[in-house]
Symmetry: C2
Subunit: 190 residues, 2 copies
Amino acid sequence: MGGEAAEAVFLVISGMLRAFKTLPDGRRLITAFMGEGDFLGLAVDGIYEYAVEAVTPVTLRRFPRHRFEAILDKSPQWRNTLLHNATEELRLAQDHMVLLGCKNATEKMASFLLQLARRNKRAGRPPSPVCLSMTRGDIADYLGMTAETVSRSLTFLREDGVIDFPAHRNVAILRFDKLAAQSGGSALHE
Amino acid sequence: MGGEAAEAVFLVISGMLRAFKTLPDGRRLITAFMGEGDFLGLAVDGIYEYAVEAVTPVTLRRFPRHRFEAILDKSPQWRNTLLHNATEELRLAQDHMVLLGCKNATEKMASFLLQLARRNKRAGRPPSPVCLSMTRGDIADYLGMTAETVSRSLTFLREDGVIDFPAHRNVAILRFDKLAAQSGGSALHE
DNA sequence: CGACTATTTGAAACGATTCAAACCCGGTGG
DNA sequence: CCACCGGGTTTGAATCGTTTCAAATAGTCG
């Protein structure tokens, strides 16, 4: 649905989606994974900024765009909230640029796991057992590497005791202190 | 000035600046080069989102933040403009993510040159002779590679007749058709 | 001119990718 | 109930592109 007019705005209730851009030859970058509490189709100008697909079965709450706009015109401070929202998204995008441009495979993977943990916390769940609901290929296209390298980084972190796969390997238990050390740090400092 | 309160908003009149983020160990990613017509310190919450430094001597027009806010509260449609602005910045950030995550050295360099050309056009100048006012190191930190690789990509493009350095090599003449072919394409399609 | 910095170029080393094979697992049908 | 299939994942070995380190060159400013 890339570039099409946004008929409505959606709030993610449950499940996981991927937002992505692709190059003409098919190379793909997943710009964000979206889960519980994230908004879809928030582009003000009514144009979707990227394509979105479901990673797992998803339930959404739909807000028709015209009603959305009406609310916005009535109480301007919501527009301010929206601006805050966009600014925050921009900050996240910049952090991801740092990840893509500066970090090596292991650091990317560690950062990604910490991100998933943060997302858990934001949704009111315990941060530690994170669920890797997307495929290795998706993770790869998010972190700017290949599925094989994703797999290798994961086993490397496991062998180092940074993470652990209990039973069925869709979830990972995190050792936050060790993870932070492997992640190369966040871009927020100085 | 990263993370400090933004006392004012600035409009770039002339010159070139770099906005960047760094990791604790010093690795740096330049998130954007800013030139004529760009705004600085637009973060709504009054916190700078990144550090900014001058690349060349710069002249700015200063708008005190309180006056800026006052104007915003008076005529709400400016807030809308601001939102549009943020959305556009987000789109650019996503395109840059594609560059960092998907493209090889030559494609990155070609894309960068096309970006500079677009910036020229936006400023009302002819697009073709672009000025590489920043150092190779800066370009490297913007494209997620090393200064040496930037240099090599540049000579590769020159040997292929894609670009040309007349006399003093701070400027490059572009062959747009060939450049587009080398850039890997834009992420806007389908 | 001489000193300093940025850039270019070369050669070796490294990390990620590629290609290929083996593996694990959930689902289907004999 | 087990054989088999297909997708996703893991692992291995060779290859490739970028980085790293080092040296040579060009450009700038006192």
